[in-house]
């Protein structure tokens, strides 16, 4: 047992940090600074602890339902690092919106805990619990601007739909249990050799609930409204931490079935065409609707639907070779950093929150702040997949994965969608650099914390865009699926 606790160290330290932060926020209600510092120390400490460990092989604890491996430790460390970036980079937004209260921090930490456990889980019940642990703080955080009806709408919409999808997940779990008599991933994997409609239906329901979480079209409709209504840092957290964890869980759920078995051949073919449809739909819906958006948050909502589509390209490629699954990890790594940078910058907008930050607020930004324009340009170019940014290599790997999986037509469609999407990003860049500022265009303020985070993210994006060797070497060595 003590060995297990030793392995679980990073998660335990995160839990301890949550309790500490909660305690501080109860004791020191008048100031939020102590809670912020406590949360920051917790996530940084956990990130260091988990990234420092490099177990050569996976260990399963708690009766095979919790996996401790290089992947799950990387996910925990990565999510904590993202959380640290948000805590450091967006505190001023909360103050400006008068929602800077201590509760924000322990809710955020609980969300990170849920997200990291969800990826580490090898048991459907634990996955469900972790899903709820991740989602409940997210619903609350989305409604943090409680005097704003949009924020309330976002929270309610997210809660009801998220809750319904949680129920779908449970229904799927019960079907899978009925068919196989087990809830562990490995048990389902070995039982799936005999096939069966019940198992297929249950598996499908599990996938549907997570396709909803990552907002793959046609299950994307909630995303723009929730993104727009939630406070900007929370939107950023949804776009990065929740998306990354949900996507990795989705990949693991997809691969909990043994597709090598003869009985699953039909199901595999059917599932592949369904996923192909989801991929193409996400790409087309995301990129085409993105160019009509005026609100920056909605634009990023559709942009993240497109990114889901690109990630699905990697998943499509992963059926034939497990190595292609690492393309998903590479894409997520690049995507999370550039999105974090973009949302930290978005939180700098001083436009009144009830109208939201519009594309028009970027107009003529270069005259007012060349520095901020440079940072925006780097992140937007990276999202468009331009060379010398991490976005290019992220796209390279998912395109290659899908191409190796024989999905040439899907890749061509994805390439065309890249062009359409690039137009949306270029439009934002054009507004900043090619137009004169209008009196109506919004104000932006730079704070030291956000500056540090944004510059760090930008350096990361450019560095990995030119010399990604170390990252590729590291991420390719991490087995995403077994």
């Amino acid at each position: 047992m003590s060995a297990e606790f030793d392995l679980l160290g990073p998660w335990i330290s995160l839990c301890a940090g949550i309790l500490l932060t909660l305690l501080i926020s109860v004791i020191r209600t008048e100031s939020k600074r102590p809670a912020q510092i406590s949360a920051l120390i917790t996530v940084v400490g956990t990130a260091v602890l988990s990234l420092g460990k490099q177990p050569s092989e996976a260990a399963l604890v708690f009766a095979g339902s919790f996996e401790i491996s290089s992947l799950t430790l990387l996910v925990l460390g990565g999510l904590c690092a993202l959380a640290a970036m948000f805590i450091l980079g967006t505190g001023h937004y909360l103050s400006r919106e008068r929602i800077h209260i201590s509760d924000y921090y322990h809710l955020l930490l609980i969300l990170v805990l849920g997200a990291s456990v969800m990826v580490a889980s090898r048991n459907l019940i634990l996955t469900f619990i972790a899903l709820e642990v991740m989602s409940l703080p997210a619903y609350t955080l989305a409604g943090f601007r409680r005097n704003d009806s949009r924020s309330n709408e976002a929270a309610l919409k997210y809660f009801i739909l998220g809750g319904a999808m949680g129920a779908v997940f449970l229904l799927g779990s019960s079907f899978v249990f009925g068919a196989t008599g087990t809830l562990t991933y490995s048990g389902v994997f070995s039982a799936s050799k005999s096939g069966g409609v019940m198992l297929e239906l249950g598996h499908l329901l599990l996938l549907v609930s997570f396709l909803f979480k990552v907002a793959a079209a046609p299950l994307h409709f909630w995303k723009p409204d929730v993104y727009e209504g939630a406070p900007t840092p929370v939107t950023g957290i949804m776009a990065t931490i929740i998306t990354a964890a949900s996507f990795l869980t989705l990949v693991r759920l997809i691969h909990m079935i043994d597709y090598g078995a003869a009985e699953m051949g039909n199901y595999l073919a059917w599932l592949k065409s369904a996923l192909r449809f989801v991929t193409v739909a996400s790409l087309i819906v995301g990129s085409t609707v993105m160019i009509t958006q005026r609100s920056l948050k909605r634009l990023f909502a559709y942009s993240s639907i497109t990114h889901t589509g690109y990630l699905m390209l990697g998943v499509l490629g992963s059926f034939d070779s497990g190595a292609s699954a690492s393309s998903v990890l590479i894409y997520l790594c690049g995507y999370c950093v550039m999105s974090t940078g973009a949302f930290v910058l978005l939180a700098l907008s001083k436009s009144p929150a009830d109208t939201g930050t519009e594309l028009i607020d970027l107009t003529g930004l270069m005259k007012r702040s060349p520095y901020l324009t440079g940072l925006w340009t780097i992140f937007l170019f990276s999202m468009a997949g331009m060379p010398f940014t991490v976005g290019f290599f992220a796209k390279y790997f998912v395109f290659m994965a899908s191409m190796n999986g024989g999905e040439t037509v899907v890749v061509v469609i994805a390439a065309l969608c890249t062009v359409v999407g690039a137009y949306a990003y270029l439009r934002a860049i054009a507004l900043m650099t090619m137009r004169e500022a209008a009196p109506t265009s919004g104000e932006w303020e730079l704070t030291p914390g956000s500056q540090l985070v944004a510059v760090g993210a930008a350096v990361f994006v450019l560095f990995l865009g030119i010399i990604p060797n170390a990252m590729l070497q590291y991420l390719k060595g991490i087995p995403l699926i077994h």
Binding site: M366, F381, P387, F392, M400, T433, M434
Partner: protein, 488 residues
Amino acid sequence: MEISDSLSFLLTLPLFAMVLSLVVPRAVQRGYAIFASLLFLALTVYESSGILFATSAATAARFAVEHQLQWLPQIGAKLSLRLDSVSAWFVVMNALTAVIAFSSKGVWYRKSPKLFTALGFFLLFGLNTAFLSQDLIVFYLGYESVFIPMIFMVGIWGENQKASAVFRFFLMSFLGSILMLVSVFFLLSRQVKDGGAVSSHLGSLIPVAGGLPELHAKLAFFGFFLAFAIKVPLVPFHSWLKDVYVLAPFPATIWMSAILSKLGVYGMIRFVMPLFPQTMGTYQGVLMAIAACSVVYAALLAYRSNQPKALLAYSSISHLGFVMLGVFTMKNQGALSAIFLSVGHTMVSALLFFLLSKIDERSEGLDLGVPRGLSQQFPVLFTALFVVMLASVSLPGTLNFAGEFLVLLNSWPVSTLSTVVAGFGAVLGAAYMLKFYQQMGFGASSTDPGKQGAHAEDLSGFELVLVFLLIMAVVVFGFQTSIFLKGN
């Protein structure tokens, strides 16, 4: 062939100059940019002189340099740079274009000059990456990164309503290049399927492309062809060009017409010809016809233009039609004469736009059909323009004449009809250029003294020397055809 690492300076120096330009004071940016690009030109010519001035293919091959640097073993991409009798010309043209573009004066040296110079050097870097790389992924990175400075140059220093022109330029070019990338991916995935080590080096992709089934080869060819046809541009794909040439600031126009268009020519010669010789052979008739139509159609459009920048833009497409006609002959001599004509086109079209920018500095508005009588006011400038114009209409004795003549000579046996049609375009070329010159320079002397008053200076000093040397080069190389025709 010699393996050397002396080539990497062709990539690192522009980047170094780019960083330095952010430190150099605003007031001396133009001087710095010209000086640095001249220095770079000298170094480039020195590095490739052995190849450029060799009189036989064997000598040139002896001087060819290949430089390999491990970059991304995970995806099989190497930084393999190759300077040989094809790329040497393009690299030198690139450096030369930078000198001419940086020499033009205008708003770009008043409003954020540091950014302008930095973008210019980045462009130099991106183009050199594309021209030198033997690796298709690295080539794509260079090819695609060229958009970034171009978008900003047009967007920041361009004229009104530039945004839509920028978008059209970007979207069409990006559409082409991403389909090319998909084609590269397709070839790479075939390599994976065949079980070989993944490498995006041209040499290892040629056998893969050769082994493709016919339909697949055609589709992959189409991806490459579309990218380069949009870049050149050939006629059905040229709709992005006019607006962006007209609205762009002069240096950006110089870069686009003189060297960015050559990316298409280079890509076609370097990559498409060796990768898809059979498919290209199948479509040769169509390709030749497209090139010939480009010549004539663009010439007609040029004749109809009443904006000098648009006229020169269409004239540029028209001449590039000749270049592509030479490429599509798919013969060694045809490709060589296409490179030959490319060099002439680079110098002449850069000079034309450069001189036009000088006229723009001295005159109120540039529309044709308004008599200004500027030739009396600025005799030196207009004499230079006259000589360049003659080179542009391929007067015998100039580089362009020799180039066009050789192209037509080589294309005649391949497709007589296309050759005749293209030859007709050459006649139209004389018509619109004479119209251009007459309306810019002659006519009743205007009472309007121009932007800089009656005492505006004629072409002089550094600019005069630069123009004179370039004109000399156009004439001298016109007689020295042997250095181009040595084979590759």
